[in-house]
Subunit: 234 residues, 2 copies
């Protein structure tokens, strides 16, 4: 067996790799994926640049690894706390709550790693942007899927446009992220909660709500929003 298991030497190597990735995520969330410099990173970890690079081969590979690790953390912080809730609107609300908490607690010290990275790499192309695109698409699909479940269960009106709602939910989270990063605003999280409450009505009796929302003048599909109990006002 020549090359079957190349795990010949230390298991510490894997551990070192782990330390590198972990540190990379932390640094990248503050300084950006580009601000992640090999020399500084190596210095922080007490290893040499070449020793570090030996694990990944290139900075880009390290960035991709950090981004993938970031996805694992995001999943752990935002999805898993809500995973046990009832699929549909309940779980969606749990996800949003976890999402807000994740931003509020500063799981990534420099704000949501994926949003920052998108701004950093848009218009630059390359594998990093491609990975970001895939990650956002995957998360969006998970949300729309959950929304569709909610619709199927009658928790949201049948004419709900899941992608529109996801668009607006993203907006809420980005606005929260922006508020927290630009100037620590203690009210920001409350505003986000209020916005989510308005987007995902807190109690939706299957029949009544849909009927109430359905009747719109003008265009057949045009519908007044759903400002029911939750308020963006007051």
């Amino acid at each position: 067996m020549a090359a079957m298991s190349p795990r010949h030497s230390l298991a510490e190597a894997q551990q070192t790799r782990e330390r590198i990735i972990q540190r990379s995520v932390d640094v990248a969330s503050v300084e950006g994926l580009s601000g992640l410099t090999l020399g500084r990173l190596a210095g922080d970890l007490g290893i040499s640049k070449s020793g570090l690079l030996g694990h990944f081969g290139s900075k880009e590979a390290l960035q991709l690894a950090a981004l993938r690790r970031g996805a694992v953390i995001f999943d752990r912080e935002v999805w898993r706390p809500a995973a046990d809730a009832t699929p549909g609107l309940d779980r969606l609300r749990a996800v949003c709550a976890a999402w807000i908490s994740y931003l509020e607690r500063g799981v990534f010290p420099g704000g949501c790693l994926f949003v920052s990275s998108t701004f950093e790499f848009d218009g630059r192309g390359g594998p990093v942007l491609a990975l970001l695109r895939r990650q956002f698409r995957a998360w969006g699909r998970r949300l729309t899927g959950e929304l569709r479940t909610a619709v199927a269960r009658g928790e949201l009106p049948p004419e709900t446009d899941p992608e529109q709602l996801v668009f607006e939910l993203y907006g809420v989270m980005m606005s929260l992220n922006h508020s927290l990063q630009l100037a620590p605003d203690p009210q920001a999280a409350a505003r986000a909660h209020r916005a989510v409450s308005r987007l995902l009505p807190w109690r939706a009796a299957p029949g009544t709500r849909a009927a109430a929302l359905a009747g719109g003048p003008g265009t057949p599909k045009a519908k007044g929003g759903s400002p029911p109990p939750a308020a963006n006002r007051g």
Copy 2:
């Protein structure tokens, strides 16, 4: 002291400075304010680094100049097209339409310069972040002021929370910006219009509408006439 008009030599100097700032804004919106490098910028403009730096003194001063110019452009593109509208809800809607258009047309090729710059400089501090903070605060104040006017005119319910609405409007614009930058989505602008329509009801008769919005669940207020149909659903 003959310091009244120090325009002794070339008026071309001012013109050169103009070219530098213009180019800086373009580059910065794509590459970021940090990606703006003096050498490359000088090369693009066919001048030398030192000649360039002579106009500003430091890279940071150049970044600040670019940001200030960006604010002028934002004002020209987003505020001025709406400035003549009736103050209050009408003007607010006009501003939002111009805002969406500004993002859609890619006035800044790399997406909204201010949002990108915030992500770039948060957690880094310094004069650039301070300027960004001031600019966002100024724009937010303008929006909340307009919202208060709308409330005073009875176009929005009296219990409206202007800052909450601004928070959500920011979110819509950021989500739009994000969608456009991550992957060109022809539907994104329509989604933004729909979201804005839901946040700012399309016709609000002073007495009746406010009351309707204040307590009632159904808001069957949608105007079919305009391009943006008001609905976050279907």
